[in-house]
């Protein structure tokens, strides 16, 4: 039987290639997503600046949430703390005492930026200051000059020095701790490889004074005595520092001490990969099923003949499954290498767009390959199941009929599958609108759309017949002879036509939905952001840190009703404990009491904001209610850096969808953040003061302070949109990849369907049609197919876009430019016409002769 399948395959290259391409592209996309997922799961972040220390001791970033429930039901979640957990400087002696340790090097990073000529940052991306003692951890070696020993001396890394043209003995401006100072460059150091962050080294004495938390370090690099065993020593160190909330890291795990926040990006990668890999799998299943079914349909008489001479339905089913599995195995095998390249490329784009930090090691091992192969083969198998059912139903008598165009389509199974797809879509749509938010929305909305598309595909024959009936009249009226012929064709051939309509419906439906989903989400986020902007102007620093005392200057600016420092972090409440708290914890915003009391009075539900001094907090009302506390109560919070604080509740806040953050004094919160200080000041205008007046007044007050910038509402919103767009681009990229896939399948199907009509074209030529007439007839037919497909695709997309946009905005219409829709429609029509007319032309190349009419 297998030999039979192989021979048949070799003979029918058209359908074979169509299915092969579908499996190939689908598997490659899934494999690429698999690679992203593995990278996200493994989160291998090799150390860069700490690479030369075999063992690194760092603060433990993981935090066990308070236990919920009791007895056997008790459980707790583990969260990753949002700020750097620092270690006590004194721990160095404990570690040094461990046998096998040669010496211990403390490592601390702080905000320091070498400025270029324009006063802005000299290099794109992150820059950090360190003590020269930690240079040996990379190791950075001096290529020029000497080490910094006094205040006012720095060593630059080779990359930064090269960019600004600095050399040993020169002067540079460095922004550090809110001020800009001139430093002498004593040397240039190079680690011999690319680093994700630029480094500025200060003298050990000056560095100690610049770090944000006195007496604390970020990590310790441990150098071993000759002959000491890394595993043994790290075990002993771990035992020695057990009670210090520290972790002992070796190998690639050391990277997490250097890039504490990057591990959060891993989760994003997993979500992205799961959403798009899942979609790719669905599309692959869909596309492979439709090409395979089409190829079986085209062999209907062959199949019927086999049935007549004694092939049982089961034998046919085995034959078709065998065929699908051979194509599946071939397509999957071919996709492995390109799929891995694609994954690598995608990951490069993700880091390029800044969606994930470029510190991950891209991992694409056997796992994704096996998973993609299983899904690829599985989709081929599922598709074969569908096609085999069709073949099994073929009645042997059909072998003896001349040309019978099938008309029976609504089988009970089809009806059942269609209705359950619709129900599934409704359930997912409900979930999207009510429960899921943010980047996760795509993870339920995407599958919901493919489910709707599946249902429409299952009902496509009936829908096509209906729409053909609608379109027939205008086409007959305005289409001339080709229109007349095409409309006759369409009336008789609505069933095969539905097969061509389906992939167009899928491609346009996915395109419209995915693109407008993005634009709607961005627009909604923009609106939410501008609604939540509690300020009319913002003062920021190009270098990150604000000079101390700036807030007082700003507060006194004419026209300013209130000014507040602004710093955000995340914490967890411990006592009383909130049973509904998850690893996302509580958003915390550090503010200045006087400023918010003056400007934000409207958000207070009870208590007073001007009491926000010292260890105090203002809670959103719903959180206060869940905790069962009110103004005057004491609560225990775990802050982002792992420290535990007891806070007085001084106010409760009216919660809006836009802001659900608790407020704390900036002076209390900032030391517990990675930056150590507020990075912006929000200013609210006095009633009657226009935004322009306020901005001018502020610029007059602080404009001469180096690096300080003042921005209005519009500029802020613009900056926010730009940031959101960067994330959206990644989605566009992957959506684009899927759409290219859908378009390939669409062209595939159309070429296959048209090439099969060679005999019909030959007959038309024989009875006197010119080549041009046949071409025009097919062009009109292609136009009809495109119109029906695009119309159904629009319906499919609208079925999810309308409820989604109703949920995120108040409009039933998705936001976004109309040209996207027009471009999609245009592309669909052009692709359909070309994919139909090219094979028609090909079939018409040869002179018509009775031999072309021989049964195929």
């Amino acid at each position: 039987m297998l030999a039979l399948v192989l021979r048949t395959l070799r003979y029918r290259t058209g359908g074979f290639i169509a299915t092969l391409v579908s499996v190939f592209v689908g598997t490659a996309v899934m494999l690429a997503c698999g690679g992203l997922m593995e990278t996200g799961i493994k989160t291998v972040i090799p150390p860069q600046r700490l690479a030369a220390a075999p063992i690194v001791v760092a603060g433990n970033q993981s935090y066990d949430l308070p236990t919920v429930g009791s007895g056997e039901d008790a459980y707790h979640e583990t969260a990753t703390l949002s700020e750097r957990v620092r270690l006590d400087e004194g721990l160095a002696s404990t570690i040094s005492a461990v046998p096998g340790v040669a010496h211990v090097v403390p490592d601390t990073s702080f905000h320091a930026e070498v400025l270029g000529d324009d006063g802005g940052p000299s290099v794109p991306g992150t820059q950090a200051g360190h003590s020269w003692v930690s240079a040996e951890l990379a190791p950075f070696r001096l290529t020029d000059g000497v080490a910094p020993v006094r205040e006012g001396e720095v060593v630059l890394d080779a990359a930064t020095a090269g960019r600004i043209g600095a050399h040993a003995g020169g002067q540079v401006d460095v922004a550090v701790r809110g001020g800009v100072h001139s430093y002498q460059v004593t040397g240039i150091a190079d680690a011999g490889r690319r680093m994700a962050a630029a480094a500025v080294f200060f003298s050990p004495a000056e560095a100690a004074g610049l770090r944000s938390a006195a007496g604390q370090v970020d990590a310790f690099g441990v150098q071993l005595a000759p002959g000491a065993d890394v595993t043994a020593v790290s075990g002993q160190i771990a035992a020695a520092v057990r009670d210090q909330h520290a972790v002992t890291l070796t190998g690639d795990a050391r990277g997490s001490a250097e890039f504490a926040k990057a591990s959060g990006d891993g989760e994003l990668l997993i979500i992205l990969a799961a959403v798009f890999g899942g979609l790719a799998a669905q599309v692959a299943m869909f596309v492979v099923a439709s090409t395979l079914t089409l190829s079986v349909q085209q062999r209907r008489r062959e199949v019927a003949m086999l049935r007549a001479i004694g092939a049982t339905p089961r034998q046919l089913s085995r034959m078709i499954t065998g065929e699908a599995m051979i194509i599946g195995a071939l397509g999957t095998g071919l996709a492995i290498f390109p799929g891995m390249l694609l994954g690598d490329w995608l990951f490069g784009r993700l880091t390029g767009f800044g969606v994930v930090q470029p510190v991950f090691k891209f991992e694409q091992g056997l796992g994704p390959v096996i998973a993609a192969a299983i899904v690829g083969l599985g989709s081929a198998w599922g598709a074969a199941f569908v096609a085999a059912r069709y073949a099994g139903r073929t009645r042997p008598v059909e072998a003896m009929r001349e040309t019978a165009i099938p008309t029976r389509w609504l089988t009970p199974t089809r009806l059942w599958l269609g209705v359950s797809s619709l129900l599934g879509a409704v359930a997912l749509a409900y979930l999207t609108i009510t429960v899921v938010d943010g980047p996760l929305a795509a993870s339920t909305a995407g599958p919901a759309v493919t489910l709707v598309a599946t249902a429409v595909a299952l009902f496509a024959p009936g829908l096509t017949r209906l729409l053909v009936a609608v379109l027939r009249r205008p086409i007959r009226a305005f289409g001339g002879l080709p229109g007349y012929l095409a409309s006759l064709n369409a009336r008789a051939r609505w069933m095969p036509m539905a097969g061509a309509v389906t992939p167009i419906m899928l491609a346009t439906g996915l395109a419209i939905f995915m693109l407008y989903f993005q634009t709607t989400e961005v627009a909604a986020a923009e609106k939410q952001y501008s609604d939540s902007l509690l300020a009319d102007a913002v003062v920021t620093s190009a270098t990150g840190d604000l000079p101390p005392g700036l807030i007082a200057t700003v507060q006194q600016a004419p026209g300013a009703a209130g000014a507040t420092a602004f710093v955000t972090s995340k914490g967890y409440n411990e006592k009383p404990s909130d049973a509904t708290q998850d690893e996302d914890g509580v958003d915390l915003t550090g503010v200045t009491a006087d400023g918010v009391a003056a400007a934000w009075g409207s958000i207070v539900s009870s208590g007073r904001l001007d009491a926000l001094h010292g260890d105090t907090i203002a809670l959103p009302a719903d959180l206060a209610q869940r905790l069962g506390v009110g103004v005057g109560a004491k609560i225990v919070m775990r802050l982002g850096d792992g420290s535990r604080v007891t806070l007085d509740v001084v106010a409760t806040l009216r919660t809006t969808a836009a802001s659900a953050s608790a407020l704390m004094p900036a002076d209390t919160l900032a030391p517990h953040t990675a930056g150590g200080a507020a990075d912006r000041i929000l200013v609210t205008a006095k009633p009657g003061t226009t935004e322009a007046d306020l901005l001018a007044s502020l610029r007059g007050r602080v404009g001469d302070v180096a690096g300080v910038q003042v921005a209005g509402r519009e500029a802020l919103t613009k900056a926010f949109v730009a940031e959101t767009q960067a994330n959206a681009w990644v989605n566009y990229l992957i959506v684009g990849l899927l759409l290219v896939y859908a378009a390939i399948s669409m062209v595939n199907t159309l070429v296959m369907a048209t090439a099969n009509r060679r005999r019909e074209f030959g007959l038309q030529r024989l009875i006197g049609s010119t080549r041009g007439q046949v071409m025009r007839m097919m062009a009109v037919e292609a136009g009809m197919v495109a119109a029906i497909g695009a119309f159904l695709g629009t319906l499919v997309a609208a079925s999810m876009l309308v409820p989604f946009s109703a949920a995120v905005s108040d409009s039933l219409f998705p936001s976004g430019p109309l040209w996207i829709y027009l471009v999609i429609l245009g592309l669909a029509v052009v692709l359909t016409v070309v994919a139909t007319c090219a094979p028609t032309w090909f079939a018409l190349r040869t002179r018509p002769s009775p031999s072309t009419l021989a049964p195929e």
Binding site: L4, Y11, L306, I309, G310, T312, P396, M400, P855
Partner: protein, 264 residues
């Protein structure tokens, strides 16, 4: 087995009725047909278009189920069999030659001929296969694909395929419908030889009086009934009776416009 005189009937249709559709739109294709096909005979079934001759063949071969009545093939009542059993029966005990679309384009002559054996999971006896292919005169072309053969040669392959399983009966549905006169002659001669040399039972549906004259006997169908029978036919007599049948059919009022009205 049914005895009729001293011959054994391989296939017997007993009061077979076949109707399509429901209620008013119902079309009766076979109306109480009783007929027998004796072992080692070659029968042609003729009739005007729509007379039910193809339906008769489908019902007799187990490709279609009669609405009522029974079909007995070699002692087996087909009406009691399920689809898979019918498939096996077709594979093992019936040979088919269709008007067109007889062969798998991907397989060569020999592979097409042995296909029924492979479907049955049996090994083909090379000697038998060679003999059958030689019998239809394609000994030199056993490695050719259908696309490399003429229409007549393709039909001969189909006959070889029907012969290879030694079926109890071969059903042929317009086997010469798409062939030129010479090729048709060759195919009909082959069928005749299969009857006389191998004692093969053959039932052939045709509308061509010349083709029908190769048979031992002709059954005439009109409006789903057997209306006439002719032993040892010659083309002229068959043509005369067919013309009479068509004329009679045109005289009777029916729903649609008549051919005579359209040409008037």
């Amino acid at each position: 087995m049914y005895q009729q005189g001293d011959t054994v009937e391989v296939v017997r249709l007993l009061s077979v009725r076949k109707a399509y559709g429901k209620d008013r739109a119902q079309v009766v294709a076979l109306d109480d047909v009783t007929a027998g096909f004796a072992s080692g005979t070659f029968t042609a079934v003729m009739g005007p278009s729509g007379s039910g001759k193809s339906t008769l063949l489908h019902c007799a071969a187990g490709l279609d189920k009669p609405t009522s009545g029974t079909v007995v093939l070699g002692g087996t009542d087909l009406s009691l069999m399920r689809e898979v059993e019918l498939t096996r029966l077709r594979r093992d005990r019936i040979g088919f030659v269709f008007q067109a679309f007889n062969l798998l384009p991907a397989l060569d002559v020999e592979q097409n001929v042995t296909l029924p054996l492979r479907l049955a999971g049996r090994r083909a006896d090379p000697a038998v296969v060679r003999r059958v292919i030689d019998q239809v005169g394609l000994g030199q072309r056993r490695r050719h694909r259908p696309a490399e053969l003429s229409g007549g040669q393709q039909q001969r392959v189909a006959i070889a395929r029907a012969l290879v399983t030694h079926p109890e009966v071969i059903f042929a549905d317009e086997p010469t419908g798409a062939l030129d006169t010479r090729s048709a002659q060759e195919v009909l001669t082959l069928l005749q030889e299969a009857k006389s040399v191998s004692r093969q039972t053959i039932v052939m549906v045709t509308h061509d009086p010349v083709a029908a004259s190769y048979a031992d006997r002709v059954l005439f169908l009109a409006d789903g009934r057997v209306v006439d029978e002719l032993q040892q036919p010659n083309p002229d007599e068959v043509a005369r009776r067919m013309t009479a049948l068509v004329a009679r059919a045109e005289q009777r009022p029916q729903d649609g416009p008549r051919l005579s009205e359209l040409t008037r």
